[in-house]
């Protein structure tokens, strides 16, 4: 197909500009993480005066990064596991059954994602504080409270996307499983789950990313012992001196797992969005 000259020129210009815009902070992050401290104290420089891996070692002792890291891993993995299981069950019901309130359920779940987080932050804070006092189960300032909160954050999108995936699985598969005597649960586990694996993986990565990157609730609901990376990373900046090279090194390290997971599964995100949008 031939196209006008100006279109190819515009393509090159616009895409180059967007590439530079996207790359700028990524370049700052990567290059600053291998700079000695002196390089980030003065004027910005494009190249490190000498390459060093010190920031990647020092960052662990400037703030208790290891504890934040462990907290984030535990909270995100737990939120991901529960969220995926809960989403699978819901999506199965929405995709395979007709029942009263189906529309209302989908609408409610989707709309909770649109509500201002600040609206339920204050009451949730009060509820957790008081539940902790009443029952002794520590929800405020603990990882458990965060897990419960975060697992609901990824639910709406996960249910929506998995419903789209499940809908695309032919019902004849269910029916032949039922002929073999499988109940609803067995059909779900033996027929639907293996077929929908790519979608489930994408949803799992999405849930993990959501929990890993959440800031608002982490800033209120965590104490010193349960602090996650989202709040902990600011520790480099609040002390009277900012170790920018260590901040960048830590940012890089905490980004790699989620970026790698997302990019590996990006194809399935697009497929899931398409499946959801077609409905």
């Amino acid at each position: 197909m031939r196209e006008a000259r100006w279109v190819s020129a515009a393509r090159v210009t616009v895409l180059t500009a967007l590439t530079l815009f996207t790359l700028a902070p990524l370049y700052v992050m990567v290059s600053s993480s291998v700079k000695p401290l002196g390089d980030v104290q003065d004027d910005f420089r494009w190249w490190p005066s000498r390459l060093t891996l010190r920031p990647f070692i020092d960052m662990w002792s400037t703030v208790p990064l290891e504890r934040y890291f462990v907290n984030s891993v535990i909270v995100s993995l737990a939120a991901m596991a529960f969220s995926v299981v809960v989403a699978i069950f819901s999506a199965y019901a929405v995709s395979r059954y007709r029942f009263r309130g189906k529309h209302a359920f989908s609408l409610t779940v989707l709309s909770t994602q649109m509500f201002p987080g600040i609206l339920f932050l204050l009451p949730l804070f009060l509820i957790y504080v008081n539940l902790s006092n009443l029952t002794g189960i520590n929800l405020y300032g603990s990882r458990l409270g965060l897990v419960i909160t975060y697992l609901t954050f990824s639910l709406p999108f996960s249910i929506w996307m998995l419903t789209g995936y499940f809908d695309s699985i032919p019902r004849e598969l269910d029916e032949s499983a039922a002929v073999d005597g499988a109940g609803a649960l067995r059909t779900l586990i033996q027929v639907i789950l293996p077929t929908a694996m790519p979608g489930i993986l994408a949803v799992a990565v999405y849930s993990f990313m959501t929990a890993w990157g959440e800031v608002l609730f982490a800033s209120v609901m965590t104490g010193e012992s349960s602090r996650t990376l989202a709040v902990g990373l600011q520790g480099y900046a609040t002390s009277n001196y900012v170790y920018w090279n260590q901040v960048m090194a830590a940012s890089l390290v905490v980004s790699i797992p989620v970026v790698a997971g997302f990019l590996a599964l990006q194809r399935h995100f697009v497929a899931g969005l398409t499946a959801g949008a077609v409905k």
Partner: protein, 327 residues
Amino acid sequence: MTTTAPKTPTVEADAVRPPQRPRMLSRSARRTLTPYAFLLPALVMELLVHIVPMAVGVWISFRSLTQFYIRRWSEAPFTGLDNYRVALDWSGPTGAELMHSLLVTVIYTVCTVGLSWLFGLTAGVLLQKRFHGRNVMRTLFLTPYALPAYAAVITWSFLLQRDQGMLNHILVDQLHLTDDRPFWLIGDNSLWSLIMVAVWRTWPFALLCITAGLQPIPQELYEAAEMDGAGFLLQVRSITLPLLAPVNRVLILVLVLWTFNDFSTPYVLFGGSAPHAADLISMHIYESSFITWNFGLGSAMSVLLLLFLLVVTVVYWIAVNRRRRDA
């Protein structure tokens, strides 16, 4: 559909396998209840984390819930609409600040969503044609969306530092556009910095959705238009945009709501306290609630924010659907 046969396949199964225990429920009752059983975990979690707290939030907004009552909030005295009156009194300091914050948030949302959508659409359309390196570019563009908010935004805050930042190095030291180094994170510039960072984080999602929406458009449509002599812009206007309309309708609404409620970007960019010029509403309510510990007032503001967003959503939805019918 699975609901065609009254003789469900489980009939044969049960006939072969004798029931081990007396059935508590008839088969049809079980069939009716099964979907609810599957939904139960999601319902419980939604109730605990969203629905009940929201109801409690509305309840609190009618009380004078200050720091004395945090640990026994049920005893906080009922004060009727007092909190709302304070929040909506634009001649008082609290109301004026809230109004200012709302205005800033509207500017922030319009600019961020507008630019993000424009970038996403332009890149999506320009990336439709196959060329060498297209997939690498797509992957690169999606990276900001995958990065954890705090890691990306903290990098931006370094880039925007007055003395050590990359932006001033380019503008002042290399291009000599101005002599004194501007501040980007305090003062009036802070809103534009915030919008730039938000666009950087948001537009990949627009690109992702628009790419998904472009995929089902058949190539033949463009070829036919080309045969009729339609240029690139006419093709975009007469084929791409109309066929993308369903995606755009939802995408723009979602972006508006997310951007309006954004907290992470300003919180991390400004290190916990926003400058006046960039005092977004979520930050504003957060700060006024946790600095003064006046949760009653904070909740009233949150409820007002929710009502505002509901009105915006309903008006938007009616407007878009009317346009669709007229078209």
